[in-house]
Symmetry: C2
Subunit: 209 residues, 2 copies
């Protein structure tokens, strides 16, 4: 039942999942010893990284007992356990489940299609996605547009995605929406609730690149 401390965060700029962790940390006013990995040259596929981390995933969290955690949400859940305030993943069983539900919906319905358009539609991403499938990028472009409509429908009803307060689900959605730059997809001007939400999120002290 020991709870190891965090030794190091393996991080990389620009990619969406590492930014989710940085935003999560910034909301908690935490800063961790960080090792920056370059992914666009495929460094995370090389033995130097794999020998340390045990997989090619970034972000990763190195703990004092030697465990390396990967998977963004698992990393965030561990950070939340060590640093519970401000709470970002729910305080009681019901809120925890509701936040997880919304977080996953945003991942699957919004972030995943955006990533698919980029990884399969942009030849420069061949280092990360092999083989690429341009037809799959094409299928996902209208799914991104539909997901933006879906998001607008949610934010027209509640100030934050999982309800009345800011949670990890907003972090995931923020990262997804801002990552649309990479696929040259704009947020329609008519999506006023989403624009308002974005303005509020960008004004937060925890807003970081």
């Amino acid at each position: 039942m020991t709870t190891p401390s965090i030794d190091v965060l393996y991080d990389t700029p620009r990619a969406p999942n590492p930014r989710r962790v940085r935003l999560f940390l910034a909301e908690k006013r935490l800063s961790l010893p960080t090792e920056v990995v370059t992914i666009m040259d495929g460094s995370h596929f090389r033995p130097e990284y794999r020998d340390k981390v045990g997989s090619f995933h970034v972000p990763a969290l190195g703990l004092s007992d030697g465990t390396i955690l990967t998977e963004t949400v698992a990393i965030c859940r561990y950070i939340e356990a060590l640093h519970p305030e401000p709470n970002l993943m729910g305080t009681d069983p019901l809120e925890k489940a509701v936040v997880e539900m919304w977080g996953r919906r945003v991942e699957f319905q919004l972030l995943l299609p955006i990533a698919q358009v980029l990884r399969h539609g942009n030849p420069a991403m061949a280092v990360l996605e092999n083989p690429q499938c341009p037809e799959w990028a094409e299928v996902n472009r209208p799914r991104v547009v539909a997901a933006l409509d879906w998001l607008e429908g949610i934010l027209a009803q509640t100030p934050y995605i999982a309800g009345q307060r800011f949670t990890i689900a907003d972090i995931t959605a923020l990262v997804a929406v801002e990552f649309m730059r990479a696929i040259r997809q704009a947020l329609p001007e008519t999506h006023t609730a989403t624009h308002d939400w974005l303005t509020r999120l960008r004004a937060r002290e925890g807003y970081v690149e």
Copy 2:
């Protein structure tokens, strides 16, 4: 801080995610009032279902306060909070994060490619996946084979996916491996550690269809 009770599980046969919830419940020796939804005729897209559940997702969990939870892992986490024993998602922060990490790896590296081969490669699935992208099914077939090698590598080292004991990560992997029937993908005979793990899982009292 109230914790609503569970009124009803919306379930459907054959699909992998609902089966994950059934296995999770069976391991805890729980049985819930259940409403069975047909998905192969698109019933879950009709207003009768959407008006009740608020989305087209199956499985879903109806709670006594009117909340409807969707997303398999969120549903399981709520069940775990109400019925903690036997524990399937980790007992302390480290184990919880490790189990979540493995659960997500299995989802993304194994279950997702299998589902993509089926949903985009089988014309009968057009009711669930529109538009279909046959090229994407083709890309995912070798990813399934690679994921089986990866799984064998894990199970050659530990008795269960997240370590020394059975967890929700094993449930997800079991459902994925058995769902390969739908894409006519066999588990290679040479994958002896995976076959041994499968035999142990099928002998469990909590093994259900």
